[in-house]
Symmetry: none
């Protein structure tokens, strides 16, 4: 189904952007690239920036008009940075990903990106079924064209993967062991990273003092300890409680050592 | 709240990637960039690729270690391309965006990206609370570092905007495109409730033996201990590790008692 989804770049000026867009596509499992009157193509720069995705450039189709690029598509979505004089049905990137996925089960979809400096023309946008708008910062909306391709391709892939999971009934199966991700309201301030580093150092010292841990090879166990506390994240009171326990363990280990000598 | 979210780039080799990452951040409303030992910085190439986001480069902080970069953060999320020997709680980009949004209301968050060729080291990843993995094509997962920043920054912004919409009563039409935060995959079986009861009993015994806890009034501390482990939920290996530690503490306490008598 991903093979039914085409990325169309219109009048791209910089070869680097074509290469980066190809790479972005391939990381997300897309392979159908169509270039409408690129300024320079092929070019060594595009190939360099495509980094392992040069095969995708080799099979890219170059055409003279947007019409040719989207002729066989039943759904055409045009990337648009700003609202237009004639309002068009606008999707966000997530909706576009889901729409492309649904449509691609039966027929071809094109997602169209415009020029680096001024995007798609009004005429081109009016040839699209929908517009997709990536919500950028109000004061700085200059998303690079390859970055826009990356975000949309990512949403296409996410829609695809989520649907596949759903179909396989993998939302919550018994054979899967699951761990909850906890982001709940908390009353006490959480301890920042640098103090947690002191915590791990103290924990490790206490375990070594207690003879539980070989000083020369603590790695595996300490990695597990880190993973446990990374999951919980401690508040101030809990943190002090543990530090107190570690100190107590060190104290009795020291007393024992003294008593034995 | 977006100002509480920091992007950390570790040992970036190419100045172009630093510039592109800055641009990606700014388009999504992020402004806090921290560079850990970049190979070259500042550089004309980074500034050129930052496009209008060069102000963000001017305020970027350059530090010597990951520790310094994340010292004041309560939540640290590390970008990881592959699964690790010790599995860590892994979020997808959408969950990471939502987690960063929730946490940033109260404190600082860092999202950490590694080297172009080999990402973050195991040691660096173990200093993170969670890992975030962008689901790439199985056969071609070479996401450019600035592209990864773009995707994560986009998800952070989306989480932010969707929450703002919700607050304003503008509910999404397609509620099912939102990823629930509740569960992540885990490889080892979790310990059931009844064994956890034995765990608490053992923990309490060890603390009493170590003289940390008054046998007649353990309530408050044990309640906190329960709350901590209820939050984490332990898998089998972790459970056995703790039981081993408790036993060791009991052993040295018993030895000490014997030595003293």
């Amino acid at each position: 189904m991903l093979s039914n989804i085409r990325i169309v770049l219109v009048n791209t000026t910089l070869p680097a952007n074509i290469g980066s867009a190809a790479r972005a596509m391939k990381t997300m499992g897309l392979s159908d690239l169509c270039l409408v009157e690129p300024k320079v193509f092929p070019s060594p720069e595009a190939t360099a920036l495509a980094s392992g995705a040069d095969g995708l450039l080799a099979t890219a189709r170059v055409v003279g008009t947007l019409e040719e690029a989207v002729a066989d598509c039943t759904l055409v979505i045009g990337a648009s940075a700003r609202s237009r004089t004639i309002p068009w049905p606008i999707m966000d990137a997530r909706q576009a990903g889901e729409a492309a996925r649904l449509e691609s089960a039966a027929s071809k979809v094109a997602i169209v990106f415009g020029r680096e400096d001024r995007g798609l023309t009004n005429d081109e946008l009016q040839r699209c079924n929908y517009h997709v708008c990536i919500p950028t910062d109000e004061e700085y909306g200059v998303l690079n064209v390859a970055s826009a391709v990356q975000v949309i391709a990512y949403e296409v892939r996410m829609a695809h993967l989520m649907a596949a999971d759903k179909e396989a009934g993998k939302e919550l199966q018994e054979e899967d062991t699951r761990m909850p991700l906890e982001f709940i309201r908390w009353d006490k301030p959480l301890v920042p990273h640098d103090e947690m580093e002191q915590f791990y150092t103290h924990f490790e010292r206490a375990l070594v003092d207690a003879g539980f841990l070989a000083e020369d090879n603590p790695r595996q166990l300490m990695a597990r300890a880190r993973r446990i506390f990374a999951r919980i994240r401690l508040d101030r009171i809990e943190y002090n409680m543990w530090r107190g326990i570690f100190t107590r363990v060190q104290d009795i280990a020291a007393e024992l050592k003294k008593a034995k000598s």
